[in-house]
């Protein structure tokens, strides 16, 4: 099944996010630039559009306990 997985991924059908840390950085950047532009806080839909992440993945990436859990996973990637 390893080969099928690789094929499906290389084909772009499945996206594997690089790391939660990287996503966290993208989200924080987008939060800042949107609030600067709009003069108010960014909504999750605006952040999803700006980062190309799903809204649920954004809330998961921003959850501290999940980030801590995943520290060594960034090494793995």
């Amino acid at each position: 099944s390893g080969e099928i997985k690789r094929f499906l991924r290389d084909d772009g059908m499945v996206k594997v996010s690089r790391s939660l840390k990287e996503n966290g950085y993208k989200i924080r950047q987008a939060t800042q630039s949107i609030s600067h532009e709009m003069g108010r806080e960014a909504t999750i839909e605006e952040l999803a559009a700006a980062t190309e992440l799903s809204a649920e993945d954004i809330v998961m990436a921003m959850d501290a306990s999940v980030e801590v859990e995943s520290i060594y996973k960034t090494v793995y990637q």
Partner: protein, 144 residues
């Protein structure tokens, strides 16, 4: 007008599940297009309520926690139920700094956080039967 949507999660009383409950509610809440601050508010309130169910409700005993979440228009209602030991005096329990576990890092601020971050917090409890916490928050009213 937004339609109604409902979810329910049930899980073992286990400190490991606090993060799971918090993230599940946050993921469900994204449908109301909240800001990250609104998400953080709800997550904090859920963490406090679920922590109370695990630490005080069931203490070291095994048990189930049930969390229901309903989206109606722009409001999220979250109900957290444990069948644990219950609270003798709810009004007193909700006073800032009141705690029955001062030995540990329990500061007696849990209910205060829930009240600060949600629009409404309602607690029903019976000794020996368990505790139900109902919290509501309107999303998006700080925008415009």
């Amino acid at each position: 007008m937004k339609s109604t949507n409902k979810m329910k999660i049930e899980f073992d009383s286990n400190t490991n599940n606090i993060g799971f409950a918090r993230v599940s509610v946050a993921a469900f809440l994204t449908q109301l297009n909240p800001t990250l601050e609104e998400v953080a508010d709800v997550k904090t309130a859920v963490s406090e309520a679920v922590t109370n169910a695990v630490i005080h409700g069931y203490d070291k005993l095994a048990g189930y926690i049930e969390l229901t979440s309903v989206l109606e228009e722009d409001t999220i209602t979250i109900t957290i139920v444990d069948k644990g030991k219950g609270i003798e005096d709810v009004n007193k329990a909700m006073e800032p700094l009141f705690t029955t576990k001062s030995e540990n890092e329990h500061s007696g601020m849990g209910f205060m956080f829930m009240q600060a971050f949600m629009d409404e917090v309602d607690v029903k409890s019976l000794v020996g039967e368990g505790t139900t916490v109902i919290m509501k928050k309107r999303i998006g009213c700080e925008r415009i």
